[in-house]
Structure formats: structure tokens, C-alpha cells
């Protein structure tokens, strides 16, 4: 897969950026922070209308059959806009699992609805503080799920969940219709992520992978979601870089633009470095989707993008001084999102260890 964007891909990048610039409203996003269970409907309508939900769904199931490169470009635009809902990433994860999974009928049932945006998907892998526990406590038996998953992104609104569970002592990936589950909303510092604890008590579900194959598929799906998230983080980190730059060239102190002070100037240059290194890793990871290097490339992208977003959120606020910490200016939307995205899809320690395991052949 080429690492140079073709014209179609460039068009997706500019168009998604343009439409979000036109429709996103900071005040609306700030309002969402103070309500549990609400998301940004205009954003989601846009995503559906623009066909972003269909991008990476196979054509035979009503999708556009495109891949991580295209989806990544959309995710970058969403990151820059601190998009008001987590559904794209969750939906992509579930769709990938269905498409690669063993249940063709199930795929045929859900993929078109995911592509059309009629159905909302989420991934429920984590338990406790572990993103992909070796021995999940949620069990699957006789077509039924039992147990709970904490703070699932999108969980408050999703229609179906991809669940990491175990069946007869073996790891399993199952898909559950959430109409059969109960949800407890989780109040968070980034409420539009719609976190909910999902409780399964005999919830009907379908098995799509079991045994080692389940873990391999789960890791692949997690890595794909991580690469999509990394693009989102890069888009956001880049937005912060230019917000900081623009402020530094206009804001004056001691009779000169603060950007003339090297403590500001060099920090912004470092922000640029973090963004470009993470962007390059994202492009590489997206380009080798499905190949043997993908897992390692995904870890590189995830690690550098997480560092870039956390750091740029910290530094952009610091560069702004007092005004930077006001509610109205909304830089904290990025600061909050930097943390929520750093935790969703697994913290740095997980990806660091995965990197070393890949490099030493210990990866599972």
C-alpha cells in the first residue's frame, strides 16, 4: 500500500476537514461536558451523511470497501474538531470483527446497518484496568453472556457490542445485541464519550471467534481501533500546534509577540516534531494494515500519537497562560480528550510492552 495519499484520499481529507469546520460548534461541545449521556447529534448526522460509517465496510455489505488510510484521514479531521461522539471507532471495530469473524449470517445482518449508521457499535474488551485481560471474567455459554464490562466508550447509546469473553476456559469474541443488556452511565471528565458499565445477565450473543484465533482477532481489532484513534490524536495534536502558533504570533508581552521568546518558540517547534513523527507512524501503520508488521506499526503509531496529544494539550494551555484555562476558550476540550483517548484502546504501558514483545518475538 502506498505511503503517498492519492487524489481521492486527499479529497477525503480536505472534505472531511471542511465539513467539520463548517458544522462544529465549540459552545455545543462545552455543553456536552456537563451532561451525562448526551452526544453531539450534528456530528453524528454529518458522519452518517458523509458516509464515514460506510467507508471501511466491505462493498458486498453496503460499504465503500475502503481501508484504514481513508478512515484515518477522517479520524484526523474528527480529532481536530474534538468530535462529539465515539461511534466511528467503535463501529469500525465491530465491523472489522464481523467481517473477519466466523459468522457470515451475523455479518450480513449487522454490517449493512453499521454502514448506514442505523446501528451503533462499541467494543467491550477491558476489565478492571486491563484493556485485553488474558482471562476475562465475562463468560459466554449456551449463546448467553454473563458478567460486566466497565466504562465502555459509546456504551450508553450503542446497539451492539463486540465483547471479549471466555467460554469453557478459552478466550472468545462474541457479538451481543445490547437490547438484552443493562447499562449504567459513567459520569466522566469527557462525557460525550458516553461511557457506560455494561451488565450482561444471560444476554443473548453470538460467537465469532474462539481460542487462540479469538485473541489474534481481538488484538487485530484493537490495533485497528488504536491506529484510527492515533490518527484522531494526531489531528488533534496538530490543531493544538497551530492554535499555539497563532496565539504566539499575535499575543504580546513586554512589547513583543510571545512567540519571540525561545521558551515558547522552541516548545512549539517540539510540538511540531511530535506531530510529524506520529503522523508518519500513522501513515505507515494504515498502509500496512493486514500485513505481518501491522501490530508493531500500530504500536508505534499509538505510542507516538498519545505522547503527541498529551504533550501538546499540556503545552498549548501553558503557552496561553491564564486565558488558556478558561472554560470558554475550550482548550480543556482537547486536554480532556487527550486523556480519554490515551486510556481508550489501552494505556501506554500496554502498547510499550506489546512493542517489546513484537521485537523480541514474545508477542501473543
Amino acid at each position: 500500500m502506498s505511503i503517498l495519499y492519492d487524489e481521492g484520499q486527499q479529497a477525503i481529507a480536505t472534505e472531511s476537514r471542511r465539513v467539520l469546520d463548517a458544522r462544529m460548534d465549540k459552545a455545543r461541545l462545552l455543553g456536552l461536558l456537563e451532561q451525562v449521556g448526551q452526544f453531539d447529534q450534528p456530528f453524528w448526522d454529518t458522519a452518517v451523511e458523509q458516509g464515514w460509517t460506510a467507508l471501511a465496510v466491505p462493498e458486498e455489505h453496503g460499504g465503500l470497501g475502503l481501508g484504514l488510510i481513508e478512515l484515518g484521514l477522517v479520524a484526523q479531521a474528527c480529532g481536530a474538531a474534538t468530535s462529539g461522539a465515539p461511534f466511528l471507532t467503535g463501529g469500525y471495530g465491530v465491523a472489522q470483527a464481523l467481517a473477519q469473524g466466523s459468522d457470515a449470517a451475523l455479518a450480513a445482518e449487522w454490517l449493512p446497518r453499521l454502514a448506514s449508521g442505523e446501528a451503533i457499535g462499541c467494543a467491550a474488551f477491558a476489565e478492571g484496568n486491563a484493556i485485553l485481560p488474558r482471562g476475562p471474567a465475562v463468560t459466554f455459554a449456551d449463546g448467553k453472556l454473563n458478567g460486566a464490562k466497565p466504562a465502555v466508550a459509546g456504551g450508553i447509546k450503542a446497539d451492539l457490542a463486540l465483547v471479549w469473553a471466555q467460554t469453557a476456559g478459552e478466550p472468545a469474541l462474541v457479538v451481543a445485541d445490547l437490547s438484552g443488556a443493562t447499562r449504567t452511565s459513567v459520569a466522566s471528565y469527557d462525557n460525550s464519550r458516553l461511557y457506560a458499565d455494561l451488565h450482561f445477565a444471560g444476554t443473548p450473543a453470538s460467537l465469532i471467534a474462539v481460542g487462540p484465533a479469538a485473541r489474534t482477532l481481538a488484538l487485530d481489532v484493537l490495533a485497528r481501533m488504536a491506529v484510527m484513534t492515533a490518527h484522531e490524536q494526531v489531528g488533534a495534536a496538530e490543531a493544538l500546534l497551530y492554535i499555539a502558533r497563532d496565539y504566539a504570533v499575535t499575543r504580546k508581552a513586554f512589547g513583543q509577540p510571545i512567540g519571540a521568546f525561545q521558551s515558547i518558540k522552541h516548545r512549539i517547534a517540539e510540538m511540531y516534531g511530535l506531530v510529524e513523527i506520529a503522523r508518519a507512524n500513522c501513515i505507515h501503520a494504515a498502509a500496512c494494515e493486514g500485513s505481518a508488521e501491522f501490530l508493531l506499526a500500530a504500536a508505534d503509531a499509538r505510542i507516538s500519537a498519545t505522547e503527541a496529544y498529551d504533550t501538546n494539550a499540556r503545552d498549548c494551555m501553558q503557552i496561553h497562560g491564564g486565558i488558556g484555562v478558561t472554560w470558554e476558550l475550550g482548550l480543556h476540550l482537547h486536554m480532556r480528550r487527550a486523556r480519554s483517548l490515551a486510556v481508550e484502546c489501552g494505556s501506554l504501558t500496554f502498547w510499550e510492552d506489546l512493542t517489546v514483545d513484537c521485537l523480541t518475538g514474545a508477542a501473543a
Binding site: 461536558l33 456537563e34 477491558a126 478492571g128 484496568n129 486491563a130 484493556i131 488474558r134 466497565p150 466504562a151 465502555v152 459513567v186 459520569a187 466522566s188 471528565y189 469527557d190 464519550r193 461511557y195 499575543r251 504580546k252 508581552a253 513586554f254 512589547g255 513583543q256 519571540a260 521568546f261 521558551s263 515558547i264 498529551d310 499540556r314 494551555m317 501553558q318 497562560g321 491564564g322 486565558i323 488558556g324 484555562v325 478558561t326 472554560w327 470558554e328 482548550l331 480543556h332 486536554m335 480532556r336 486523556r339 480519554s340 490515551a342 486510556v343 481508550e344 489501552g346 494505556s347 501506554l348 504501558t349 500496554f350 510499550e352 510492552d353
Partner: protein
């Protein structure tokens, strides 16, 4: 047992007796207004018990003890989470300045009493939208008006102004001379005609700072503190008053024990967090850093007790502690994984990592940003040159905006 240790015992006894009614747990679900009301009661009780104005002269209504007695009490009080934060600035800077510069001593004495009992609160109005780190760039202007003055302009980042009765302010009385020379200092009645306070909501969701607008506000010349054109000096004096305030090597965030506790509770990829080198490194490096800051404070303390002037290294405390608290809080959130996505808006900054993280940026900016502190250390302690200052020696109204 030294006199100071005895005093600490006495202070602890008092605080322990007050804790059930005023302590952290008692305040847990309070709205700001309820908390303020509780705080006023606490201040009255503190005054009755003889722990108010500890290092102020007896004749003005203080206890006539040393600065060390004051930091000793403050250090102890900080442990209990009493609702005294509304009154910290009021008693820390404005009131002492008024005590020092205001001529009407009877009036001052009355203000001091009410301020100590929490019946009145004072704010300090220095920063302006155009100013930031650059105090002398302020634009709020006063013009002579008969035998007094007329004030117009705007201040920002004024803590608790929405609850204040009085405030102190630096204004520009002469824009035609070099910027730090044309300033004059006053006290202001916050309820006076033309004063409007608008709370500013911060990233964490709280609103303890404000914008304050002045529209033809009348000031008597008797409200002037210091000479006309002497405002910059009085402002610096204000900022100098509290040299060694009670510090916290935890950067006013959670104690390192909280992090160690967390490291014991979590696994990292199937292994105990406390056994992970990444976690151990952060615990050890932060411990060494905090221990160093604590030793600096202890030494400063010992020097003051020995009647010596403490070293300038005390100025490292906030810079180093708050900056590292921010990253440690992020790591703690990483370790909690999905469980750390939940957020309790009533949690306390010294016990909750999410709250500590969310408020850290304000901590790194309020009371001198990291960059300003580094400049101060470099210039005042190490004698490095000032930054380029195109505004130097130029009349204020000739500086390009």
C-alpha cells in the same frame, strides 16, 4: 519540646476539635455558597480560639507571634481541608497592605477584625486582559476628579471577587511616562457604584476567579495607598509580603503514598503494578524530588528560627512540584485504565488523581507561570540578562499595542 512544637500541639488540638464540623468530609457535598457560609463560621471560631492574625501586632488585633508560628499553623491546617481558602488572599496580601499604608487606623482596625472573623473579604486586583505576566502593562486608568479620582477599566483573574467587600488595585494615573512609573495604588469598595464583577468559569468547571469592570468609579484620595506614581512599588511590596508561605512538595496534589497505594492495587499486563520498573522509577524519582523540596523547606525554617535569611532556593517549590504533579496524575490515570474514566466533581484535589490532573494547568499558571518563575530564578538568583524588552524606557502610550 521547643516553643514552636508546643504551639503545633496546641494548633493540632484545636484543628482536631474543629474537624468534625468544618473538615474535608463535612464539606464534601457543599455548594460553593454553603462552603463559604461554613467558612465564615470557621474563621470566627478560629479567631475566638486565638489562631487569627497570628503574626500580626496585638494593637491591630493580631496575636503578636512570629511568622514561624503562622506557617506552623497553616501547615497543620492544610491537612484538615478546612474552608479557609476563601480568606487566604484577603488576609495574605490586601489587608496587610492596608494595615501598612492606610492612615485612618481606627477604620483599618475595624476592617482587620471583620476580615479575621471572615465577615468581610478583600481581593487583590492586579492582572488585566492585556497584561498576563507583564504587570506594569496595565491599562485601568484613574483621572483626577475634583478632590478625588475617577476610575475606568477592567481587571481579570481576581480570586473570590464575587464574594468580596473590598479590594486593592493598581491603576495607571499617567500614561505619558515609562510604564512602571505611571501607576498609583488604591483600595476599592467592591459594592461601590460602577463596579461590576463577572465570574470566569475555569477548565475544571469552577469559578473562583472573576473579571471586574469599572465604569466611572469614584475613589476618594483617602483611598490612595502610597504616593501618586508609587503604585508599582506598593504592588511589589504586596507580592513580597508572603515570602515563605506554607509549601507542599506534592504540588498541592495527592501525596505520593496515594500513588504507591494505587500501584499496589493495579496490575500492569498481568504483573503487580508496584513491581513494574516504570512505576518504580516514577515513585523513586518523585520521592527524591519531593524529599529535596521538603528538606529545602525544613532548612529555610531552621534558618528563620536561627534568625537567618533563608536561601533563594525556596522559589523552586511551586515550579518543580506542580509541574511534576501534572505528569504523575496522568500516569495514575493511565494505571487506572477504564476505571479512571469515571470522574467525581466533588472529589478533592489532594486525594483524587483526576481532579489533580484537571486543575494542574491552573496551578502551573496562577501565582507566576513556570516561565515567569524560570525567568525570575535566572535573573534574580543567577544574574542572567533580562529578556529583550522593547518596552523599556518608552512612554506607556508609545508602546506598540
Amino acid at each position: 519540646m521547643s516553643d514552636l512544637d508546643a504551639y503545633r500541639e496546641k494548633a493540632r488540638a484545636f484543628l482536631i476539635s474543629m474537624a468534625p464540623k468544618f473538615g474535608r468530609d463535612a464539606r464534601r457535598a457543599n455548594t460553593v455558597e454553603q462552603d463559604l457560609a461554613l467558612g465564615r463560621q470557621y474563621m470566627a471560631a478560629r479567631h475566638d480560639a486565638g489562631f487569627a492574625g497570628i503574626n500580626w501586632p496585638v494593637e491591630i488585633g493580631g496575636q503578636g507571634l512570629t511568622h514561624l508560628h503562622k506557617i506552623t499553623f497553616d501547615g497543620e491546617e492544610m491537612q484538615f481541608g478546612m474552608p479557609s481558602h476563601f480568606f487566604g488572599i484577603s488576609l495574605g496580601m490586601p489587608v496587610p497592605i492596608v494595615m501598612h499604608y492606610c492612615e485612618d487606623k481606627a477604620w483599618v482596625k475595624e476592617r482587620v477584625l471583620k476580615a479575621l472573623r471572615g465577615e468581610e473579604i478583600w481581593c487583590q486586583m492586579f492582572s488585566e486582559p492585556s497584561g498576563g505576566s507583564d504587570l506594569a502593562a496595565l491599562r485601568t486608568k484613574v483621572e483626577t476628579d475634583g478632590n478625588g479620582w475617577k476610575m475606568n477599566g477592567q481587571k481579570i483573574w481576581t480570586s473570590w471577587a464575587q464574594y468580596c467587600d473590598y479590594g486593592v488595585i493598581v491603576t495607571r494615573s499617567d500614561p505619558t511616562i515609562e510604564k512602571h512609573k505611571g501607576l498609583t495604588y488604591f483600595w476599592v469598595d467592591m459594592k461601590a457604584q460602577g463596579v461590576e464583577v463577572r465570574p470566569i468559569k475555569l477548565a475544571g468547571g469552577d469559578s473562583h476567579v472573576n473579571e471586574v469592570f469599572f465604569d466611572d468609579v469614584r475613589l476618594e484620595d483617602s483611598q490612595r495607598l502610597g504616593a501618586v506614581g508609587g503604585g508599582f512599588g506598593v504592588a511589589l511590596h504586596t507580592l513580597m509580603i508572603e515570602r515563605y508561605i506554607a509549601t507542599d512538595s506534592g504540588g498541592f496534589g495527592p501525596h505520593l503514598d496515594e500513588f504507591i497505594k494505587l500501584a499496589h492495587e493495579v496490575d500492569i499486563n498481568g504483573k503487580p503494578g508496584i513491581e513494574d520498573g516504570r512505576v518504580r522509577q516514577q515513585i523513586a524519582r518523585n520521592h527524591a524530588m519531593r524529599a529535596g523540596l521538603d528538606s529545602i523547606t525544613k532548612r529555610a525554617f531552621a534558618m528563620m528560627m536561627a534568625g537567618m535569611q533563608p536561601g533563594p532556593e525556596g522559589s523552586l517549590q511551586k515550579l518543580v512540584a506542580v509541574r511534576s504533579r501534572q505528569k504523575l496524575s496522568e500516569l495514575a490515570m493511565d494505571l487506572k485504565g477504564n476505571l479512571g474514566l469515571a470522574f467525581d466533581e466533588h472529589a478533592f484535589v489532594k486525594t483524587d488523581w483526576g481532579t489533580s490532573w484537571l486543575n494542574a494547568p491552573t496551578g502551573r499558571i496562577a501565582g507566576g507561570s513556570d516561565e515567569v518563575l524560570l525567568n525570575t530564578i535566572a535573573e534574580k538568583i543567577l544574574g542572567l540578562p533580562q529578556d529583550h524588552r522593547p518596552d523599556k524606557g518608552v512612554p506607556f502610550n508609545a508602546i506598540p499595542a
